[in-house]
Symmetry: D2
């Protein structure tokens, strides 16, 4: 840890800080520069985090050398992790494709989609039973009935299921049914929910919040992992920027960036990432080319009459065409679908 003191600070300002570092068992370093005093702390600086040295008046800046995340940190684990969900594996050469509707709407709808995406080559089925909607007046999902229908579709097709959990109250119920939890972007820092899904041991698809830095996302993963659940898959789904011609700004660069920083698999959701039907295919291809460990795409048998987010769902036919192209791009970079 590097601590820069404000201009005009002197040895006497530095002394208590050096003392605190020493007391924590780290080696303090006093570096009086020409204009400012710099203090270093050698050793496992994470011990110092609770000292809140940035609260001290003479301190201009505190610069950590080490990252605050440990379990998610690639520096502590040489190999990339794999996360297994039923028979699907994230983090290997083969890239799982998750497909399905925004919301489960009826038995016919979910069965139609499930059969179609399975036929096209998807590995997992997605579908919202509990829906987080910006408006309290909008369709809130079929809830328990939605869960039941997802199970029907799984039995019929064999595709493992991922579905979103919104409430701590529902964690046990959903854990008993789903193959993987989805934590939505709006709940990425709902820490109680993260702890609760962590405790179940069920794999978690953790979506990046719209204003989350890489560190925020990895610290959210750390909440799940520190509850003894290492089965976390990260998902880029677009961030908020000044740019409003797309629903969100899909930040594909974070895929390789995360892969340097963490051993966890990283997938991409171009449906939410763009919010524009025409942009889903090019961005799904780009995600594969950028090295994503999975892609999640919304598919609906009749998007024009979907109960939610129809504008960002593909028809089964469009999905079928897209997955063929994704397969070609994957092959071009030495992977497969």
């Amino acid at each position: 840890m590097i601590i820069i003191l404000k201009k005009g600070s002197g040895k006497s300002d530095a002394e208590p800080i050096l003392q605190q570092i020493r007391e924590q068992g780290l080696q303090p370093l006093y570096m009086p520069g020409e204009e400012k005093i710099v203090i270093g702390a050698l050793g496992d600086e994470r011990i110092l985090a609770n000292l809140q040295l940035d609260s001290i008046d003479c301190v201009e800046r505190v610069i950590p050398i080490l990252k605050p995340y440990k379990l998610a940190n690639r520096e502590f684990k040489d190999r990339r992790s794999t996360v297994q969900v039923a028979d699907v594996v994230f983090g290997e050469t083969k890239i799982p494709i998750i497909a399905g509707p925004c919301s489960v709407e009826s038995e016919e709808q979910i069965l139609d989609v499930a059969r179609a995406v399975k036929r096209s080559g998807a590995s997992m089925l997605r579908g919202g039973a509990y829906k987080p909607r910006t408006s309290p007046y909008a369709f809130q999902g079929l809830e328990d009935e939605g869960l039941r229908l997802l199970d029907v579709a799984r039995r019929e097709t064999g595709l493992p299921i991922v579905t979103e959990v919104l409430s701590e109250h529902d964690v046990d119920k959903i854990a008993a049914m789903t193959d993987m939890f989805q934590i939505g972007a709006r709940n990425m820092q709902n820490f109680q929910l993260l702890k609760a899904v962590g405790a179940t041991g069920v794999p978690v698809l953790l979506k990046r919040g719209p204003a989350a830095s890489m560190c925020d996302l990895l610290m959210a993963a750390e909440y799940v992992m520190s509850a003894d659940n290492p089965n976390v898959v990260l998902c880029e789904r677009g961030i908020k920027s000044f740019f409003s011609d797309t629903r969100n700004t899909l930040d594909l660069s974070i895929v390789p960036l995360l892969q340097n920083e963490t051993h966890l698999p990283v997938i991409v959701d171009p449906s939410h990432g763009t919010g524009v039907r025409e942009l889903i295919p090019p961005m799904a291809l780009a995600a594969v080319a950028a090295g994503a460990d999975g892609v999640m795409i919304e598919v609906h048998p009749d998007p024009e009459h979907a109960l939610s987010d129809g504008f960002q769902q593909l028809t089964p036919e469009a999905f079928d065409e897209l997955i063929a192209k994704m397969r070609a791009v994957a092959a071009a970079i030495g992977r497969s679908i």
Copy 2:
């Protein structure tokens, strides 16, 4: 509602949309322009929201004329609302000041602060018992013991209390003790939590999420209000922007903007809004000058040794100086503290 069709669309594309509008009991309007067809729907367009017309392939854009929020909408209520918390009123000429530490740390600490801020003229006491922390390894609050200590401070000083709720599980317990719930920025779209605090009827301080538009914030308020709890106070506390020299970018313009758009009171939190101790006084003064209906400021007896966010807490002495200046600015614009 205005619906713009993509270039090249014709009468036959418009017809089914006109039909849908008619079926909902609204009056459809067909406006073929030189380059594009525009469709209008006259009447209470909120009925159309569930039609998801933006999912239709030939539709370029759907432009609502009316706002999706009703209960929070100023257009439906002529007068500004007031929200009463014990004997404190938000939304009148007198501007309540909420002060207190980031976290409740001990009986001595919270009593010290409570007495000091009361003496200086604060109207309410804040203090976190349950803390949402980015890191699972950081201090998570005193929890139930923190609640108890807040109650002790209230009995001693008479100041009403506001404290944050993180979990649906804690809603009833906290409702039984607190005068006002705080919903933190990270939970602004934790809709289950919003419904739960709505159901209690206890007043709610709703903080704007770091990537929340005005509409997002008012729809979150709508979740609380549609659970029959009209006692919502909105709080600007900074948004995420590219600018990283402050912790957040305090968006003061939203104060008068919200006051045009909603009848709910709007307050400002310059502590989180800046994350820099030196910036809290000027931005607190600016908040008053901009017309805020309240200001919330973090105060700690010894910020350099605070267990959380010490860098954005004022000493009681600095707070005392600040509140005197705020009083002068309030008087300059015809208000009081």
Copy 3:
């Protein structure tokens, strides 16, 4: 054009607006809704832009139906445009790769790079002679000597040249030498410069500004095109967002979005777009997969000793490896390099 009046406005507020629309030769439409009055104007609404109807007190919002750009607008031109730079064509199935150093530093350096990137398969050479640097104390480019060296490299390799112009004073001098102007991101709205390069007729590589919307970018192109220079190639190079782990946020979605909106070719610069050497290859591959009409990559014989931006330049060896992969991805989507 749709004009929404503020709640409470009446027929008498609408009348003068309807009159103005009529006077411009458009057909006005009066639509009194349940809560608000809406006014429509049928015809070429661009005539109305100068009326500044949004300045009128009773007007809540003005919503244009048509786009303000004409020459760049795809709606007015059915086919995609191609832009020819010497023998290189942008906008066809074959994807040109532009490569070269951030700055021209010496004859040896530019010749080394030029030969290497040509050998690997690049189509054009880039290199800065005049450099826009954030700091006045940083290396500002070799200026005229840099231009001369670019010419030497071009003669030697046959690769056409693109180089940045910073000043109206240099436009003629550079026009006489270069095959293509580069307008940098910081100058995207330097309208005098846009007009000046437009007047030369030399093709222009127009980089998107870090806070430019799609409309801002296309209006900047319109400045060049309305000076009778249709030879504009657009370049996405990253925008400013809250995310600071990369230098910029590469907004790849704008590639297909622009291709729907304009007939102009769109290329991507992953060097500036990420500012991180390790991220250039995955994002270059993603750009190709997303359908970019070109990719521009910084290559330096010895990035560790570059005079500018070494951290985002590839070695010739790394570039050679990358271009082979790009070729494979291009083939996977039916294009070539």
Copy 4:
């Protein structure tokens, strides 16, 4: 300067860096931590900027201790600077108010405004003769005739003039007439223009670009100052954020932040900062309360018929009312207008 090496780097990676630091006459410091090696450089690190140490493969991060701006840096100058424009002084207790139309449109218009704002208590007159417009089809200003009319208004009222310069070609002509140059937000990093206005010695009002960090803004000031022109006044006028209900997001916190960082005066433009007429008064009051050294407000005799930006201009009557309130707020914080 602190240099952090990537994990896995060893003494042999550090050695050449230590050597380079030594060669520049600074004292290198080798700090092998538990997980990473950290290198320090004691002395005037600005010498190291040109070494581009962040280009070296084993370097994870380079952290400057000192700021790259010198002339604008408050650390090198104890007192706040004042900038004198004719008889108006920026940077003292008295706060100058600049007022006038977006564009000069006619002699009658500019004289009307000039007389009115002078009567109300404005200190300077603003008015655009050369206008940077997003669209090439929009009104581009009266140009030379606009300059002449500004001069007429100055003679009539005695108010000093500030007007925008767009082109290096116009610098001498405008310098001969104006009391102060305005560099608009879009040109904040038009470095050639900054050097050119710097060379004239005429005071410069430098507006912050919509995506400019504090450092970017101060480095732009440094371009002017290093051309031997210390007369720079900085202007906050709103940044781009995800928030689109206002034209820009007025970042008032940067006012006190800049005042800690630089000795230059800092003013605020709430007209561009909000782009909404109703928001100008509250944000002008907030700017004064936040400690701004000046406020610039757009005033037009008939905003509904303005040729540009009518939606963000006040009538002379509204301005008169506002300045009275600003005077009261200024008095409340011990300043005057």
